[in-house]
Amino acid sequence: MLEIDKLTLSLGPRHWQFDLSLNTHGIYALLGRSGSGKSTLLNLIAGFMHPDKGDIRWQGESLLSLEPAERPVTSLFQQQNLFNHLTVRQNVGLGIDPGLKLSDRQILAIQSVLEDVGLAGHENKLPGSLSGGEQQRVALARSLLRRRPILLLDEPFSALDALTRQEMTALLRQLIETYKPCVIMVTHDEDDATAMQAEVLRLVDGRITREG
C-alpha cells in the first residue's frame, strides 16, 4: 500500500495538501487542469521534490529519507526519456547499470523486456531513427526492467498521435497485467483514464478527491 499522509508543500502562493492511500496493484489516473500540480505530486513521490510536512510510506516504510534512485519508484516522463547517442539496448540497459557494464544475463533480460514492448530487432538502433511511439516504448521497457513496484507516468502519451496513443494504451494495459505495479498516471484526458480502466483521482485547489 502507498500511503500519502498529510503531505503538504507550499511554493510561493501555491499550496498543496495530499492525503491518499493507494493499493499495491492499483491503477490510478490523476486528473486536473494544467498548473494544478499533478506533476508536483509525482515529483514528491519520486523524490525530486521535498515536502514541507507529512510522510510518504510504501508497505509501511517511509520513503522521505531515501534518494530518488533508492526509492521503489520508476518514472516515465512526457518526453526526453532517452539519450540520443545511446542505442536502444544501451538506453534500456541504463535501468540496470548506469555505468553500462552489462553481463550476458542482463543483455538477455533487456532482450526479453524489449520483446514485451514489441521492439525486438531494434536493439542497435539510435532513438533518432524511431518514431515517437517507439521511443516511449523503449523508455517504458527501461521502467519495467527496473522492477520497481511503483510506476509513475507523467502524461506519457501526450506527444503522440491518436492512433499511436490507442496502441500504447493497449500495450500498457497488457504490461500492467504482467508486471502488476502500482500505477499513477497523470493525464488531462478523461478518455485515457477510461481506456486504462483506472480509478480517477481529481486534483482541485491543491487537494485530491476520489471518484467511484
Binding site: 525530486f48 530518488p68 526509492r71 516522463f77 526526453q80 526519456n81 539519450f83 548506469p98 555505468g99
Partner: protein, 546 residues
C-alpha cells in the same frame, strides 16, 4: 503610406556603402602593391616566423581557453542555486564589453614583472616569472576567451531538459556517467564552432599582441602589418602580409560555415536581468547529483580560481586608478579631448553600424520570408560580415592608400576610425538583430496583413515593442566595442587626434603608469556607462514575463 520604397532599396544602399568602404580600399591596396613577389614571401624567414607564431599562439590560446572553460562551465551548471551565481555569470558576459587595452593594463598589474603575483612570489624568494612574449599573450587571451567559452558552454548545459536530470537521479548515475552520457554530449556539439570562434579571435587579436608581445620573436601578422605601415613604411610588405592574413581568414570563415549547425552561440548572454528561472532553490532537478564534501570542494575550488582569475586584474585596475595623479589626469586637456573623441566615435559608429545592419536585414527578410529566396537573402546578409575576413588593419591600410592622394589622412582620422569601427561592430549587430527581425516579420506577417495593420501602426504596436531590446543591445554593444578599439586609431591616430585607448597605450608605452592607470579607469567607466545607459534609455524597463 503613399510612396513606399521598394523592398530592395535599403539593402542595396547598405550594400553599396559597405562595398565602397571595403572594396575600394582593397583595390587601392592591390594596385599599390604592384606585383607581389610570392616566391620572396615563401623564402622570407621573418614572414614565415610571423605566420607560424600567429597560428601557434592562436592554437595554444584556444586549447587553454577551452580546457579552463569546461570545468568552470560544469561547476556553474552543477551548482545552480548558490548566492552570487547570477553575478558571476554576468561577470563572465562582460569580456566583450571591457576594452582589450584596459584589461591588458589590469593583467600587467597582476601578472607583469612587478605585478602582484611576482611580488607575492618574491616573499618566498621565487624569481619573477617571465611575462612578456608568449606567456603574457596566452594569459590575456585566456582572460578574454575563457569566460566567453564558459558562458556559451553553460548555455548548452542549461538546455538539458529537467527530466533528463531527474532520470539520472532515479537511475542513480554517478558524476562520471552523467558527464559521459549527458554533459559531454551536449558540449561536444558546441566545441568545434566554439574553438574556431576563439581561434579566429586570437589569430586576429591586435592590441594584446602589440602590448604584450615581446619583440619580433612574438609578433603576429596583424601587428606586423601595423609595424610595416607605421614604422618601416614598407607598403609592399604590408600588402603581402595583408594578403596572407586575408587568405587565412577566408579559409577560417569557410570552415565556420561548414561547422555552424546550430545558432546557440547567440547573444542572449548579454541580456540584462535574466537568469531567474528557478525561483525555488531546493527543487532544481540537479540538486543532489554531486553529493558530499569532496564535490563541494571541487566545485568551490574551480569557481574560486575562475573568478579570481577574471576579477583580480579588474580589481588591480580599479585600485591603482586612484592615485596621486587621479585629479590632475582627470582635468588634463589631453585626457578630456581624448574622452570626447572616444564618446563621439563610439556613438557615431554605433548609429552607423546599426543603421547599416537594419537596412541590410530589412531587405534580406523580404527576400527570405516573402520571396522565399532563403539562400540569396543569406548571401546578402553575409556581406555585413566582411570585416571578419578583412581585418581592421588590412582595411585601414587600404583606406590609407586610397585617401592619401586626396586628403591629409591624419586630419580626417576620426572619420576613418568611425568607418572601420562601424564595420567591425556590424557582424555583432547582425547576429543580435537577425532573429528578432525575422520573428517580427514571420510569426505574424499574415495575421497582420489580414488585419490591415501596416506602416506606422505596425511599427508602433508590433515591431518596436519586440525590437527595442535587441536594438538597444546592438547599439550598446557596438558603442562599447568602438569606444574600446585600439586597432583603427593606432593606424590613424596622431598627436592631434587621440582616443582614450590610444592615449592609454601611449601612456603605458612611456611607463607613465600612474597616468595610465587613471586613463584605464576612465575608459572602463566610459564603456560600462555607455553599455548600461544605452540599454536603459532605449531598451526600456523589464517587462513582466520577459
Amino acid at each position: 503610406m503613399s510612396t513606399r520604397w521598394p523592398w530592395w532599396a535599403s539593402g542595396t544602399a547598405a550594400l553599396l556603402i559597405i562595398a565602397a568602404m571595403t572594396l575600394l580600399p582593397l583595390a587601392a591596396m592591390l594596385a599599390q602593391a604592384g606585383a607581389i613577389d610570392w616566391q620572396g614571401i615563401a623564402n622570407n624567414t621573418y614572414l614565415l616566423r610571423v605566420i607560424r607564431f600567429s597560428l601557434y599562439q592562436a592554437l595554444a590560446s584556444t586549447v587553454l581557453a577551452l580546457l579552463s572553460a569546461i570545468p568552470v562551465a560544469l561547476a556553474l551548471s552543477h551548482k545552480p542555486t548558490f548566492p552570487g551565481r547570477s553575478l558571476i555569470v554576468s561577470l563572465f558576459s562582460l569580456s566583450l564589453v571591457i576594452p582589450t587595452i584596459v584589461a591588458i593594463y589590469g593583467i600587467v598589474a597582476v601578472f607583469g614583472r612587478t605585478g602582484w603575483l611576482n611580488e607575492f612570489l618574491a616573499l618566498s624568494d621565487i624569481k619573477p616569472l617571465a611575462f612578456y612574449g608568449l606567456p603574457g599573450i596566452l594569459i590575456a587571451h585566456v582572460f578574454f576567451n575563457m569566460p566567453l567559452a564558459a558562458r556559451i558552454l553553460l548555455n548548452s548545459l542549461e538546455s538539458i531538459p529537467a527530466d533528463n536530470w531527474r532520470l539520472c537521479r532515479q537511475l542513480g548515475m554517478t558524476p562520471w556517467t552523467i558527464f559521459r552520457h549527458l554533459e559531454w554530449h551536449r558540449m561536444k556539439h558546441q566545441l568545434p564552432a566554439l574553438a574556431l570562434l576563439i581561434f579566429t579571435l586570437c589569430f586576429t587579436s591586435f592590441a594584446i599582441v602589440m602590448t604584450l608581445g615581446g619583440g619580433p620573436r612574438s609578433t603576429t601578422i596583424e601587428v606586423a602589418i601595423y609595424q610595416a605601415l607605421r614604422f618601416d613604411f614598407d607598403i609592399t610588405l604590408a600588402v603581402s602580409l595583408a594578403c596572407v592574413q586575408l587568405l587565412i581568414c577566408l579559409s577560417l570563415m569557410a570552415l565556420s560555415t561548414v561547422l555552424r549547425h546550430d545558432n546557440s552561440m547567440g547573444f542572449d548572454i548579454y541580456k540584462m536581468g535574466q537568469n531567474s528561472k528557478s525561483d525555488t532553490g531546493q527543487d532544481d532537478p540537479r540538486q543532489g547529483l554531486w553529493p558530499g564534501t569532496t564535490w563541494n570542494l571541487i566545485h568551490g575550488g574551480i569557481l574560486v580560481i575562475g573568478i579570481v582569475f577574471v576579477l583580480l586584474p579588474l580589481l588591480a585596475l580599479v585600485l591603482s586608478s586612484f592615485n596621486g595623479k587621479t585629479l590632475s589626469v582627470l582635468l588634463d586637456t589631453t585626457t578630456l579631448s581624448a574622452l570626447s573623441n572616444t564618446v563621439a566615435v563610439s556613438l557615431t559608429a554605433a548609429c552607423l553600424s546599426v543603421t547599416l545592419g537594419l537596412a541590410l536585414l530589412q531587405s534580406t527578410r523580404h527576400l527570405r520570408i516573402r520571396l522565399a529566396r532563403e539562400r540569396m537573402g543569406q548571401w546578402l546578409q553575409l556581406t555585413g560580415n566582411i570585416i571578419l575576413v578583412l581585418p581592421p588593419l588590412v582595411l585601414g591600410t587600404g583606406l590609407f592608400l586610397l585617401l592619401r592622394p586626396l586628403a591629409d589622412v591624419f586630419s580626417i582620422a576620426l572619420i576613418l576610425v568611425i568607418m572601420i569601427n562601424s564595420l567591425m561592430a556590424l557582424p555583432f549587430v547582425l547576429r543580435i538583430l537577425e532573429t528578432p527581425m525575422m520573428n517580427a516579420a514571420s510569426a505574424q506577417d499574415r495575421l497582420l496583413r489580414s488585419l490591415g495593420i501596416q506602416g506606422w501602426n505596425r511599427w508602433r504596436h508590433i515591431d518596436w515593442p519586440q525590437l527595442r531590446k535587441p536594438l538597444a543591445l546592438s547599439l550598446a554593444l557596438s558603442a562599447t566595442l568602438s569606444a574600446g578599439d585600439l586597432s583603427a586609431i593606432a593606424l590613424f591616430g596622431s598627436e592631434r587626434v587621440r582616443t582614450l585607448p590610444l592615449l592609454l597605450y601611449q601612456r603605458m608605452g612611456s611607463y607613465r603608469l600612474e597616468e595610465a592607470a587613471v586613463t584605464a579607469g576612465i575608459l572602463l567607466l566610459t564603456c560600462l556607462l555607455l553599455f548600461a545607459a544605452i540599454q536603459w534609455l532605449i531598451g526600456g524597463k523589464e517587462r513582466a514575463g520577459n
